[in-house]
Symmetry: D2
C-alpha cells in the first residue's frame, strides 16, 4: 500500500500519521522526493482502513499495491534512484556508466594495461573476475583472494573503482575493499546470499538469471533491499531461449519494462548476452538507445589467449570505438 | 560451393567456366558486384574437384558452403541487396524505411487519415491488414478483398506504396496490385505458400516465426528465392520465451546475425514484439541503433477503439515523435 | 455459456428453450449425453439474462464459459468424444490406437512390407508421408499424388486405414480417399487450411505446433469444429525448448491437461518428439501410462537408408516389442 | 579417456598400468564391475599415446571421452550405481523408491501424521522442507533448525529416513543427522555449495535447474563427485518453457537420456513439475513407465491450509492410490 501525501504539510502531521500506521505492525518506507512524498507500507496491510486514511487532510491518495515487490517498486519511490559509487561515479537518473575489464583477472600487468586503456576510453568502473563460476569443475576457477588484491592494487594506480563477482557468502570478508559487489546470473535466486548482501552497505549489481522473469529479478532485488541495503543496480545479460546461434538472447525490452516498474538503475551486458565480440557493438548501441543506465563490456588485450570467454571480449581499440559511438547515440537522444 | 573469380577476367573465360560447372547438374547463381564476382553453385557439388578449380587462372578461391541456405547466403552475394519498391522507396544498403499503418483496415476514412499522418512523419510504406490471422475463429477476420481495395484507393490519393499480409495461396489473385506481400509469423514455414510466392515477382516481407531460429528464417527465405523471386525482406518481430510480461521477446541480436549471414535487408516490428505502445519507442530506437534497415510500426488514430491490437498501436502524434527520434539516432551513427 | 438441463424433461420444453436462445443470435451446440444434456451457446451471450434462465424449471445450472474455445470445451460436451474411423478402428473413450508407418512413402514394396508388419503387431492405422514439410527446399519433398495412391493400394491389400499429412488447401482433392487427414505442427495455425478442413467430414489429426500453447491447440481445433467438422484428434509431438539434446521436449502433461479441458481424444508422437529411436520406447510407455488415447510411431524396415527421419524410426521388430509393452502398461491401469 | 581392460587379468598388471598412467598427472577413476573393468582418466590426457596403450596385452580398448563430465559418465562406470541410504532403502539398478512428505515442516503432529500414512503406502523416504527457498522475502521461510529436529524426531518414531533441502553452505552443520541432502533447482549451479557437498559423505539429491540442460545437470553432479562424494541422485522436476498452463514442463525424456549418459539413479518430482495435484497421478505413472528410479511427491493431510504449495499436494489417500497404481505399472514392465 502506498499513501501519497499532499505538498506542503507540516512535519508533525506526517510523523503522527507514520506512528499510527506503524502501530499496525507494518514497516514504513518513506520516499521524500522533489515533487511528492510517498509513504510506502510493507507487511500485512489488510486491517488498515483505506477509506479512513484517504479522508485525512494531509493525504492525497491511497493505493493498494498488487505487485509482490515493494521497496524496488517505482510506486514506492517515484523518482529514479541514484546509486553513487564514488564522488565521480554514479548510476541512474541521467548518469550513464561504462563498466569494462577482463572476464578474469589473470595478472597485475594484464589488468593494469586494460584498466588504463578503458579509463582513457571513458569507462567509469573496472570489472574483473576473481571468483569465477565455471560450469565444469575442471576449468580455471579464478585467482580468488589474489585476484581481488590485484584489482585493488590497480585501482590505486589507475583510479577506477572496481566491481567483481561474489560466489558465496563465505567469501564476503574478501570483498570489504570492493566498490560494487556483483551477483551473477546463477546466483540470482541464491536467497541466502541475497539476504546477507542485504545486511551490507555495498552497492550490489544484480544480474538477471538465465531464465528468470523480470518480476523474479525484482523480487531478488527486494530480498536485498528488505535486508536494509537499497543500493541495487539491475543488469540484463540475455536470457535462455531455443535460439542457439547466440549464446543467450539479449532481452532489451527488459530495460524499458524495468524502468517502468522500478526506480533502480538498469545496465546491460552485451558480452555475455551474445557470446561473440562482433555482436557487442550493435547490441551496446541498441542498449544505449533504449535508455540503459550503463553497459558492462568485457575487454581483453589479447582475446585469443584469454583464460575465459575470449570470443566475446573486445580489444581496447574496439572498446574505444564502441564507447565513442555509444556517446554519440546518447547525445542524439 | 562458391567460386570467387579474379578481377578483370574476360567474359568468355567466365562463361566457359560456368558451362563446364553446369554440366555437373548444378544451378549457377552469379553475383557480379563492384569489387568481385562470385559464382555460387546450388545442388550436389560433391563430384566437383575443388583443387582442379582452384588451380584455374581465373579463379581466386573456392569455398565449400556448409550452411543449408545458398541464395540467401552472404557468401553467395557479398554485397547488401537493395530491394526496390518504387522509384522513391527501397530497402537495404543504407536505405532505411519506416512502414506504418493500422493493424487492420477498418474503413477508407480511417486508413486515409492514418496514411496522410504517417507520410508526413516520414513513413515510406503504408501497412494495413485485410486478411487477419486471428487465433480465435470468433474474432474479426478482416475486410478481405474490400480491405485491399481500400488500401489501393488510399495509395492513389496519398501516394504511399502498400504492404499487406497474405494468409493463403488461394488469395494470391487479390494481391496483384499490392506493392509488398507480407508473410506472417505463423506462415513462415508454410512451405507451399513460400514456393508459390517464389514464382511471383513481388517483393516479399518475411516475418520470423514465433519460435523459429535465425537459420530457419533464412531457409524460408531460401524457399522463396529458389523459386526465382529474390526480393525478400526479413523481419524480426519478437520470439516466444518464458517471459510473459511482454507479448514476445524482441531479439535484436537477430538483426546483427542476419546482416552477417545474409545480404537481405532486415526490418524490425517493435509493435507485435512488445505488445504495448509504451515500449514501442525504446525498442524502435534500439533497432535503429543496431543497424536495422527499417521498422514496421502499428499506428491507429484511435487505439482504444481499434478492431485489433489497439494496446500496441501508436497515435499519429506518438509515431511522429518516434520517427524523428529514430532519424536522430541514425544520424549519430 | 452453457446451460445444463435437468434429467427427464420433455422434448418440447427443450426445443422451446432452444428457439428462444437462438432468437438472441447465438448458435446452439447440443450435447445429449448419457447422464446429462448440455446446451452450449456460441456467440455474443452478453444480453442473455442468466438469472432468468437459471430460474426456469427445466434448467439445472447456467455457467458463463471464460475459455475462448467452446466446441472443443469439455464443459460443452462432458463425455469423451469417440472419433470413429472404420467399424474396427476408433479413437477416444477407452479406445486406444497405434498409428504406425514410415516417415515418407518411398515405394509400394516398402509401404506394404511395413504395413503388414505393424498390423500384425496391433497397429490400427497406417501412416506415411506423401507431401513432406521439409525445412530446406533442396530436400526430398515426397511422392505427392503417387504417394497417396500407394497408400490406398496398400490399404486395399493389407486392410489398414490410412493417415497422411496435407500441406496446402490446394491439395485437398487428392485426399478424398484418405481416412484421416493430418495437419502438421507447422500448419497448426494455418487458419485458412483449418477453415477448409472444417468444411469436410474427414477425421482430422491436429498436431500441436512447435511452440504453441495448449490453449492455442484447442483454438485451432475450434477453427475446424466451428466450420462444422467435429471429428478432431489432438496430437502432442514435443515442444521447442532450450534443451538441445532431444529434438523437441515431449510435454506429456499436455495429455492430462487436454483431457481435462477438452472431450477430444489425445494421441502422442514420441518419434518426432525425441528425434531418436532409442528414446521412443520409454516415451511411448510413459504416454500410455498417463492416459493417451493412442500413439503415432515411425516404423521403417531399413532406418539407416530411410529418405527422411531415419534416426527416429523403429524397425518392425522394435515396434512389435514396444506395442506389446504398451499393452501390458494399459492392462495394468 | 577410458581404458577397458580385458577380463581375467592379474592385479599386478592392472596396478602397473595405473601407476604409469598416474605419472602423466591424471587422476584415475576405477570402475570394477561384474562384466568389465574400466579405468577412467580425469585431467589432461593429451600427451598420452592411445595407440601405445591399445597395444598392451591387458587392454581391450581405449576411447577418448568428449563429454566434459567424467565421473558421472556411464562410459566411466558402465553399470548402474546403487546409492544406499539405509539397509532397507536404496536408489538405482532396479531399486525403486517413493519419497513423500509435506512441502514444509509445519509441526511435529503434522509431519508424524503424514509420515505414518505414506510409510503405510510404501514410501521409503520422508521429505519435508525446513529451509524453504521462497521467491519473496515476505513469505514463510521455514522452521529451519527446528524443522530438522522435527524430521529426526519423526524418523525415530516412524522409521523413515529423511531428505531435506539445504539452502546454504553455512547451514551444513544442521544437516549432520539428515539421511539425504537435497540441492534445490535454484542452487543447481551454486558451485561453491556443490564443492562443499562434494567433501561430505552424504547422499545428495540434485534437482535439475529451472532452465538447465541435461548436460549442465551432469556437470553439476560432476562438481559434487569430483570433490570425492559419488553418492548423487539426479532429479527431473520440470523445466521452464513458454507454456503457462502448467507450473513447469515435465521433461520425461530426460529420464531416458540421463540413464543413457550416466550411471546415476534418476528420480522424478511430478508435484513441482505440474504445480497441480490433479496432474500428479498421470505424471507419476508416466515417470514410472519410462524407467525412473523413484518419485518425489508432496503429501499433506490438509492441502487447502498448507503453508506452501498446497495446490500441488496430494492427500494421504490420494498418495496411497498413486503408489499402488505405480506399483502396478512397474510390475507390468
Amino acid at each position: 500500500m502506498i499513501i501519497a501525501l499532499k505538498k506542503g504539510i507540516r512535519r508533525e502531521e506526517q510523523d503522527h500519521l507514520i506512528s499510527w500506521l506503524e502501530s499496525y505492525g507494518v514497516r514504513i518506507h518513506l520516499s521524500e522526493g522533489e515533487y511528492q512524498t510517498v509513504v510506502g507500507l510493507v507487511g500485512d496491510t489488510t486491517r488498515i482502513d483505506t477509506d479512513l486514511i484517504s479522508g485525512l487532510d494531509i493525504v492525497e491518495s491511497v493505493t493498494r499495491i498488487s505487485e509482490p515487490f515493494k521497496k524496488a517498486n517505482r510506486k514506492f519511490h517515484p523518482e529514479d534512484s541514484v546509486i553513487r559509487i564514488t564522488e565521480a561515479v554514479a548510476f541512474g537518473k541521467g548518469e550513464f556508466q561504462l563498466i569494462a575489464g577482463p572476464c578474469s583477472v589473470e595478472s597485475e600487468a594484464q589488468v593494469e594495461t586494460i584498466a588504463r586503456a578503458v579509463k582513457k576510453s571513458g569507462a567509469g568502473v573496472l570489472r574483473g573476475g576473481a571468483f569465477k563460476p565455471r560450469t565444469s569443475p575442471y576449468d580455471f576457477q579464478g585467482l580468488h583472494e589474489e585476484g581481488i588484491r590485484i584489482l585493488t592494487e590497480v585501482r590505486k594506480r589507475v583510479g577506477l573503482p572496481i566491481i567483481t563477482e561474489i560466489m558465496d557468502i563465505g567469501h564476503l570478508p574478501y570483498f570489504q575493499d570492493v566498490d560494487i559487489i556483483q551477483v551473477g546470473a546463477r546466483n540470482m535466486q541464491n536467497f541466502e546470499l541475497l539476504k546477507e548482501l542485504g545486511k551490507t552497505d555495498k552497492p550490489i549489481l544484480l544480474k538477471r538469471g538465465l531464465a528468470n522473469t523480470i518480476k523474479e529479478l525484482l523480487m531478488s532485488a527486494e530480498y536485498i533491499m528488505s535486508g536494509g541495503n537499497e543500493r541495487v543496480i539491475l543488469c540484463e545479460r540475455g536470457i535462455r531461449t531455443y535460439e542457439t546461434y547466440t549464446r543467450n538472447t539479449l532481452d532489451l525490452s527488459a530495460v524499458a519494462v524495468l524502468h517502468e516498474l522500478s526506480h533502480l538503475p538498469v545496465v546491460v551486458d552485451p558480452s555475455h548476452a551474445t557470446g561473440a565480440a562482433r555482436y557487442v557493438r550493435p547490441m551496446a548501441l541498441a542498449a544505449a538507445a533504449c535508455g540503459a543506465d550503463g553497459l558492462m563490456i568485457e575487454v581483453h588485450n589479447d582475446p585469443p589467449h584469454a583464460l575465459c570467454d575470449g570470443p566475446q571480449s573486445l580489444t581496447p581499440e574496439q572498446f574505444d570505438e564502441v564507447a565513442s559511438a555509444v556517446r554519440r547515440v546518447r547525445e542524439a537522444l
